[in-house]
């Protein structure tokens, strides 16, 4: 991993965010909502509206408005919410923290469920177990989050009464309750990743099991457990990083729906509220922060992959 490569990668992130900011600003500008009217209400006098438009810069050309918005954004000023009259930035970043917790929990569940499922299917290739794993992965990519969430709510929360249905508890408040509230949403978000990861791990494991070095390790007399953990698992995990990085987009999209259904005050819920109330600064900030999260996670995954890949090459 050369520094030139790293620089190129970081420049890509900057370019990505630039395009996203233009796109988001452009799309929200077409919104048939007049910021002055939404701030002052329908009954405001034309004079008051005109002076507020002047103050907000709504009479400036679009590119100038974009420039003002972008330069404020770069100084960490995401604007003021038209709904709550509060600064958008702090609210969005608090929400982002909760969403990242949800995403992190989903990732942990993915690794706990998806990796063993894929290995199990590979080891029992062609049996009912393999068929079952294949079915799980087909269902996983075929059920939208709102369906999975609703079905989980009916079975786990409503019928079995095992876990609370909705709501959010901060971990600082009550760790146990916080985790209990997080399980169903995280499980919902993880479904698509479990499907992709288990499929990938299965095919990788099959490849590795047929490789010469695993045969050599077996012939050397290593116990099969050691072979599985030291050689097979390790090689099967590598592509998992790529798959997870590719899935970040789905996960962020899934988080929007899941937070809405489970009433988690994360960035997805903020965005839905912003979109339904046509709160332009919040929509813009939320969308840019989400895209930035995507770009950063992908870059980190790329760098992680490059690091691991290199280590393997030198071993």
């Amino acid at each position: 991993m050369s520094s030139a490569w790293l620089l190129r990668r970081l420049l890509t992130v900057v370019y990505t965010l630039l395009v996203v900011s233009i796109l988001v600003f452009g799309l929200t500008q077409i919104l048939p909502a007049d910021a002055a009217v939404s701030l002052l209400g329908e009954n405001a006098t034309p004079a008051a509206l005109a002076s507020l438009r002047q103050k907000l810069g709504l009479n400036d050309p679009v590119w100038l408005q974009y420039w003002h918005w972008l330069s404020a954004l770069l100084q960490g000023d995401f604007g003021t919410s038209m709904r709550t009259s509060q600064p958008v930035g702090p609210a969005m970043f608090t929400a982002l923290g909760r969403s990242l917790m949800l995403g992190g929990a989903a990732l942990v569940l993915t690794l706990i469920i998806g990796v063993p499922l894929g290995m199990w299917a590979a080891l029992r290739r062609g049996t009912m177990a393999d068929l079952f794993a294949g079915l799980v992965s087909y269902l996983g990519v075929s059920l939208p989050e709102f369906v999975t969430a609703t079905l989980l709510l009916i079975v786990v929360a409503d019928r079995l009464q095992l876990l609370p249905a909705t709501g959010y508890v901060a971990p600082s408040e009550d760790l146990g309750e916080s985790v209990r509230h997080l399980i169903l949403p995280a499980l919902t978000v993880s479904v698509i990743m479990v499907a992709h990861v288990s499929r990938m791990v299965r095919s990788e494991t099959i490849d590795v099991l047929n490789s010469d070095y695993v045969r050599a390790a077996r012939l050397k007399g290593l116990p099969s457990r050691t072979v599985l953990l030291r050689h097979v698992l390790r090689n099967a995990l590598l592509p998992t990083i790529t798959i997870v990085a590719l899935d970040v987009g789905y996960v962020l999209g899934g988080i929007i729906v899941v937070e809405e259904i489970f009433a988690i005050p994360g960035i997805g819920r903020q965005l839905i509220v912003a979109i339904t109330s046509r709160d332009l600064p919040s929509i813009q900030a939320g969308a840019v922060i989400m895209a930035a999260t995507y770009a950063v996670v992908n870059t980190v995954a790329d760098i992680a992959y490059a690091l691991i890949d290199r280590r393997i090459r030198y071993e």
């Binding site: 919104l31 269902l139 709102f146």
Partner: protein, 276 residues
């Protein structure tokens, strides 16, 4: 093409996918005829009737027959998702092929821009578009088409890059053909197979995205019997009548599974080299 269909029916995924597709097509074409009740007919004596002889899939909070609504819902969901996906896929394929044809700096710029657009999650892009254009099925379909295009462009570009190096493209350039002709007549037909595979799998996403938008109140509007909307309405009564909710959930899953199977089957049928 006949050869591909022949090979498709020899893959297990292909057969199952085609069977499900036939069921869906039947529901879309003959849903109104097959439905045992008019989908919007309310029968207050049948409120929350459990699945049985009278109502195979039960009845909802207004006594509407769930099976009839599902059959009508197929028409409200599936053709729109297919159309939106293939329209978006065509646009994406053209962009991807053009990018590969131009090469060099143009290719770099187009690819980076596509990657940047893809940093906005599909659902979020669709949400912003629908809130800009206004709610409703047509705008939801447009939003889905737009969010499909970038990923298809990326897939197409990688295939078209290989096609660009083929002799027939070089020959066309040497003959002095115009850029549009080369892109549309020489390269595009030769990247069709992977594009069709990818687009087929994307239909599954489109169905889910469309249902999600309707679920969030931005796609199909009541009293339409769109599946996502049905789930959204049935959620309030899920304690009393879970079947009202489970039936459309299964319909969405079945449709998505159908297109995923077809896509996988086509991949096996069209790329015999790629053994997985």
């Amino acid at each position: 093409m006949n050869d591909a269909v022949h090979r498709l029916v020899h893959t297990p995924q292909g057969v199952l996918g085609l069977v499900l597709l036939a069921v869906l097509a039947l529901a879309c074409l003959l849903g109104g005829v097959l439905a045992p009740y008019p989908p919007e007919a309310m029968d207050f004596t049948a409120r929350f009737v459990a699945p049985g002889a009278r109502h195979w899939f039960g009845a909802d909070q207004l006594g509407r027959d769930v099976l009839s609504r599902l059959l009508m819902g197929a028409r409200a969901t599936v053709p729109l998702a297919v159309l939106a996906t293939f329209a978006g896929a065509t646009v994406g394929a053209c962009i991807g092929t053009l990018s590969a044809y131009l090469g060099g700096r143009w290719d770099e710029a187009i690819t980076r821009t596509i990657d940047a657009v893809m940093a906005i999650p599909h659902l979020l892009l669709a949400l912003i578009l629908v809130s800009t254009l206004g709610k409703g099925s047509a705008n939801a379909a447009l939003a889905i088409g737009i969010s499909v295009a970038p990923s298809l462009a990326r897939v197409t570009r990688s295939v078209a890059l290989a096609a660009r190096q083929q002799d027939y493209v070089k020959a066309a350039i040497a003959r002095g053909e115009g850029g549009a002709w080369i892109v549309l007549r020489e390269m595009l037909p030769n990247v069709a197979a992977p594009v069709i595979i990818e687009a087929t799998i994307r239909v599954a996403f489109a169905v889910m995205l469309f249902a999600t938008l309707s679920f969030l109140g931005l796609g199909a509007q009541p009293p339409a019997s769109e599946w996502g909307l049905m789930i959204s309405e049935a959620r309030r009564y899920m304690h009393q009548a879970p079947w009202v909710l489970v039936a459309p959930a299964l319909a969405i899953a079945m449709t998505a599974i159908c297109f995923n199977l077809l896509g996988d089957g086509l991949r096996d049928a069209l790329n015999p080299r790629d053994e997985r």
